[in-house]
Symmetry: C2
C-alpha cells in the first residue's frame, strides 16, 4: 500500500497555521500519513472577498476571541506565543523562501522556524534578516547558505511558482488557512480538523 | 462542590448549533457539568458587521465548504441531515418558543426537536405549524398544550426576554454560534470546542 498523503495549505500570516505547523509532523507520523507542505497567500483570496486586511481585524469581536483562543491553545500545547506587530504580517517573502527550502527538502524545519520567529517571539517576518536567522536556525548541521536561499527566493521562477500555488488554492476552493486537502479533494479547514483530515486520508488510501 | 455550569449560546438558524444541541447533554453528563441553554439571535450581530444574510451566503467558497462539512459530520454522528430552504431560516419564532419551553423545564427537548425538524428534515421553522409539531413531539407524555405555548411565545414579555438575551450575547463578546461560555466569562466558539469548554468549566469549579 502506498502511504496516504495529505496537503497542508498554510499562509505564514495565519495564526492557526502556526498551531498546525508545530504539530503536523507528530500527528502525521502517528497516522502513517505523508505531508505535502503548501505555502500560499491568503491576501488575494481575502481581497476577492472584499477584505483589505485579516478578517480578525475586520471583525473586532472575532479578533479579540482569536487572540484569547491562541493564548489558551499555545499554553496548553507548551508553545511560546507573542502577538506580532503589525498583524497581519506581510507573508510574501516567507512563502517564497519556503518554496526554495522545499527544493532542498527543508520546508518543514524552515516553515516551523519562521512561524516560531513570528508568533513565538513576535518578530517581523517581512524583514529579510529575521528570515535569514530563522533559516540558519532551522538548518543547523546542514551545509547550506541561508543568504543564498534568500537571494534565490526572489528569482522570477520562484515568484511564479508561488503565484501558481495561490491560484491552485483558489481553484481547490480554499478560502482560509490552515486547510488540509486529501488526494480525493476533500477539504478540512482549521487546526481543529487536523485529526479528521488524517483519518480521511488514511481511509481513502486503504480503499474504505 | 457545586456542579460546574456552562452556558450554551445558540441560534436556531445556525448549522453548527444543530450539531452541538444534539450532543451537549451526553457530553455534559460525562463531565458532570450543568448546561444553561441560551437561545439568541445572530441576525442583529451579523447586521452590525455589515452582513444582511449568513456569512455562508456572503462568502460562497466558505458556504460550499460548510455544507460538505455538515454532511460529513452528521454522517459520522448518525444524525439525519437536509439543507433547509431558504437558508438561513427565520429563527425568531423558534427562539421565542424556546424561552417559553425554558419556563417549563423543556428547553432541551424542544430545542432538539426544532433543530431536527429544520436540519434533519428540511422543514421551515418560520412556520408555526412546524414549530407546534416539533413541540408536541418533544413533549410526548407531558401534559402540555403546544398551541398554548406558541401563543405565549408572542407575549411581549417573551419578546423582551429574547431581546435582552441577544443584547447580553453581544455584551459578552459573542459573534457566532454555537458559543460556550464559562462562569468566569471564557468564550469557546464552535462545536469543535465543546470538549475544551467543558474541561475549562470543570477546572474552574474545582479551583484549578
Amino acid at each position: 500500500m502506498q502511504a496516504p498523503r495529505l496537503e497542508f495549505w498554510y499562509d505564514f500570516a495565519s495564526t492557526y497555521s502556526y498551531l498546525s505547523a508545530m504539530r503536523i509532523e507528530t500527528v502525521a507520523k502517528a497516522h502513517g500519513v505523508k505531508i505535502d507542505w503548501k505555502p500560499f497567500l491568503l491576501g488575494p483570496i481575502f481581497r476577492s472577498q472584499g477584505w483589505d486586511t485579516s478578517p480578525f481585524n475586520v471583525y473586532p469581536a472575532k479578533g479579540r476571541y482569536m487572540w484569547r483562543d491562541m493564548q489558551r491553545l499555545t499554553a496548553e500545547r507548551g508553545l511560546s506565543f507573542s502577538v506580532p506587530s503589525p498583524f497581519p504580517q506581510n507573508s510574501l517573502a516567507a512563502a517564497r523562501l519556503a518554496l526554495v527550502a522545499s527544493d532542498r527538502d527543508l520546508i518543514a524545519p524552515v516553515t516551523k522556524a519562521i512561524f516560531t520567529a513570528q508568533f513565538g517571539h513576535g518578530h517581523d517576518i517581512g524583514d529579510a534578516t529575521v528570515l535569514q536567522h530563522a533559516t540558519t536556525r532551522a538548518c543547523v548541521g546542514r551545509s547550506l547558505d541561508s543568504a543564498q536561499m534568500l537571494t534565490l527566493s526572489v528569482d522570477p521562477k520562484i515568484k511564479d511558482r508561488l503565484k501558481a500555488q495561490t491560484a491552485a488554492a483558489t481553484s481547490h476552493g480554499i478560502f482560509g488557512a490552515p486547510t488540509f486537502r486529501t488526494q480525493d479533494g476533500e477539504l478540512f479547514w482549521g487546526d481543529d480538523r487536523l485529526d479528521q483530515a488524517m483519518a480521511w486520508a488514511r481511509a481513502q488510501a486503504i480503499g474504505e
